[in-house]
């Protein structure tokens, strides 16, 4: 099966790209591993519909991409594209502190997703901790689901958040709307969890709070692996794109979080540009500075990188502790010697952690992009 444009990822960026590409081309496909379109933020309830005329392939995991371009999917075999738009979003950043792997501790977005898919939280005491606007969104969603949000610990100091909001008044209604849904919930700035044990969170500064769940998200890590497999150049960890969202590989465009963490509006603008550019339409230039300002406002306090104790686990898949990594100077050396990053997540979680704690950068990506049944690796026929 062959398309003019295949869009990987049906979050806001991918949906905006589909809308833009669909205006010009009758041969556009949108692929996503979830049951419905919407990505992380609109999970299940997208505010942009999949445009008529665009073929949508839900529950379709792409595990390999080849030049030219061929996408290998788990459920449908191979798919070909003249141009490719990568809108693969981001994942959460975890940071290790004593207790971070204990039952009851979740990723913030992860817990939100679990709640959307039915985990009951009514009456549960939940603390949301970490950094960034996502914490408010998660806390609001948890409260709507009936949780007792006992507090939000934001590591960034208020002195950085206020000027940021002042610079982007357009974001204020959103922020106030979220805050309005969180009346009575303490918002501790310049504060982070330092320990979790037996239902008790200890915060920096000494406060202890008893909780059923602790939801942590220290920011977002771009999903650049698909772009890396195709050989797209990265710039400081993000996929490098030109003013038309085209990557260093001609015909491959990238939109949304992989090109810079900027949230919904940026994802929508990127997607529009990528969809237009990939189908030869005129493109509006990007507005730019927000991504940088967001990163600066919620820049992580280096003290967060010292919370792990020697015995604290860094690589959950292979059970590698902080102390086990200390003798090594770089990611690949540590990986070879300790097997850190060699498990099923292939360093997606511990790679960014060692980047924060030790300044390492994880090595190149190998196929498959996601774990797949061995027999799937043999399939190269598209079965619609």
């Amino acid at each position: 099966m062959k398309f003019d444009v295949v869009i990987l990822g049906a979050g806001p960026a991918g949906l905006a790209a589909a809308r833009a590409a669909g205006r010009r081309s009758a041969s556009v496909a949108l692929v996503d591993d979830n049951v419905t379109a919407g990505g992380q933020i609109w999970r299940g309830a997208p505010r942009i519909a999949v445009p008529a005329g665009v073929r949508f392939f839900p529950q379709t995991r792409v595990f390999d991409l080849r030049p030219g371009f061929t996408l290998l999917t788990e459920s449908h075999g191979a798919m070909e594209a003249s141009r490719l738009i990568l809108a693969t979003g981001a994942r959460e950043l975890f940071l290790p502190f004593p207790g971070w792997t204990a039952p009851g501790v979740f990723g913030a977005g992860g817990l939100q997703a679990l709640v959307k898919s039915g985990l009951p939280v009514a009456g549960k005491r939940v603390m949301v901790a970490g950094s960034g606007p996502l914490l408010l969104a998660v806390a609001a969603a948890l409260r709507t689901a009936g949780a007792r949000v006992v507090g939000i610990a934001e590591q960034a100091p208020l002195g950085r958040i206020v000027p940021f909001l002042a610079k982007y008044p357009a974001k204020l209604p959103q922020a106030f709307a979220l805050r309005a849904r969180l009346v009575g919930v303490p918002y501790w700035t310049g504060t982070w969890p330092v320990r979790f044990a037996e239902g008790m969170v200890t915060l920096s500064g000494g406060r202890t709070v008893s909780v059923d769940y602790l939801a942590c998200g220290f920011g977002l890590v771009p999903n650049t692996e698909a772009a890396q497999l195709l050989g797209c150049r990265l710039d400081d960890g993000f996929v490098a794109v030109d003013s038309r969202q085209e990557t260093s590989v001609a015909g491959v465009y990238c939109a949304g979080e992989p090109t810079g963490i900027g949230g919904l509006d940026k994802a929508l603008e990127d997607g529009e540009r990528a969809g237009a550019a990939a189908t030869g339409q005129a493109v509006n230039p990007s507005r730019g500075a927000f991504v940088r300002d967001l990163a600066a406002a919620f820049h992580l306090d280096p003290r967060l990188f010292d919370l792990a104790e020697p015995s604290t686990v860094v690589c959950r898949c292979e059970d590698v502790s902080c102390a086990a990594l200390r003798p090594y100077r770089e990611w690949r050396e540590a990986k070879l010697m300790t097997r850190c990053g060699m498990g099923p997540c292939q360093g997606r979680i511990c790679g960014p952690i060692t980047n924060c704690l030790l300044g390492w950068s994880a090595e190149s990506v190998r196929r498959p992009l996601v774990p797949v049944a061995a027999e799937i690796l043999l399939k190269d026929v598209f079965e619609p």
């Binding site: 770089e330 690949r332 050396e333 070879l336 010697m337 300790t338 060699m342 498990g343 099923p344 292939q346 190998r366 196929r367 498959p368 774990p371 797949v372 049944a373 061995a374 027999e375 690796l377 043999l378």
Partner: protein, 350 residues
Amino acid sequence: MTPSPDVMIVGAGIVGAACAYELARAGARVEVIDSGLPGGGATAAGMGHLVVLDDNEAELTLTKYSVGLWHSLAKELPAAAEFWGCGTVWVAADEVEMAGARAKLSVYRQHGLAAELLDERQLYEAEPNLRAGLAGGLLVNGDAMVYAPVATRFLLEQSKAKVTRAAVTSLDDLKAGAVVCATGAMAPALVPGLRVRPRKGYLAITDRYPGFARHPLVELGYLQSAHGDSNESVAFNVQPRPTGQLLIGSSRQYEDATASLLEPMLERAFAYMPGLRACSVIRTWTGFRASTPDKLPMIGRLRDRVYLATGHEGLGVTTSLGTAKILAALILGYAPPIPAWPYRVERFDG
């Protein structure tokens, strides 16, 4: 200025590391240079199966001697080297291969190696996930497994050799009593015209399935794949890691072949272990073996003070320790523990 070492070893893979270890134990002052991470070349890409092979007398002698050395070293290895005396199960698909297994058994027994013939039932008892209808197999008890990157680091640490990270461009420029080129498949870059060709192999690793396979499993046709010169070949070769992960091999192709052998290799594996189809693969990769025309390593003097230790094909983890014993003897001038002439460098000259 520090005095130049007795021996400078270029290449810190398992072979260079073993040479450093052995030479240092014999009293030489040793230094090591590698352009990358110690153990980060073919040594990081391979499977670490310590296996006796009997394609020919020279191979059998070197592998048997080396596997014995690994057993002696085992007690000293750190736990992370995951030494595991698991044996090997050679799988016979039909009666013809079963006859091959019997022949192999008698060769191994003649050489004092413990091995047991498995009939069809015993094969399934040993490995319940093999497909039905196989004829039987041969369990070679003394074979083992090691996690080679950690073993490499251990050998280097034990040697106390200084390890420098630098790319060597000329062996003759190095100041030392003797220089050892142990750069694996990259040796021809330093020794133009050397009869070593990179031979690519694919590997896939799965998530954890404890107990799915209990021994390294190799089809009896493996030697055909390893020793034949066909441009592309695959053979069933599955190895369990102590964690329950499964390494799936093996394939061979010379550097000019471009087809992906991952798929044929997996198909071959499924033909023997159908349950592998459903196992989740988390990573695939390739590595290069250093292949000589007769598939035996080159161990010995190249010219003047320059020595070679390369060409270990698919057996370099196994034969590293034996290689080091031979090379140390040749450099330091005592009698090698096993005859060195089958591995001499000049055997392809003229």
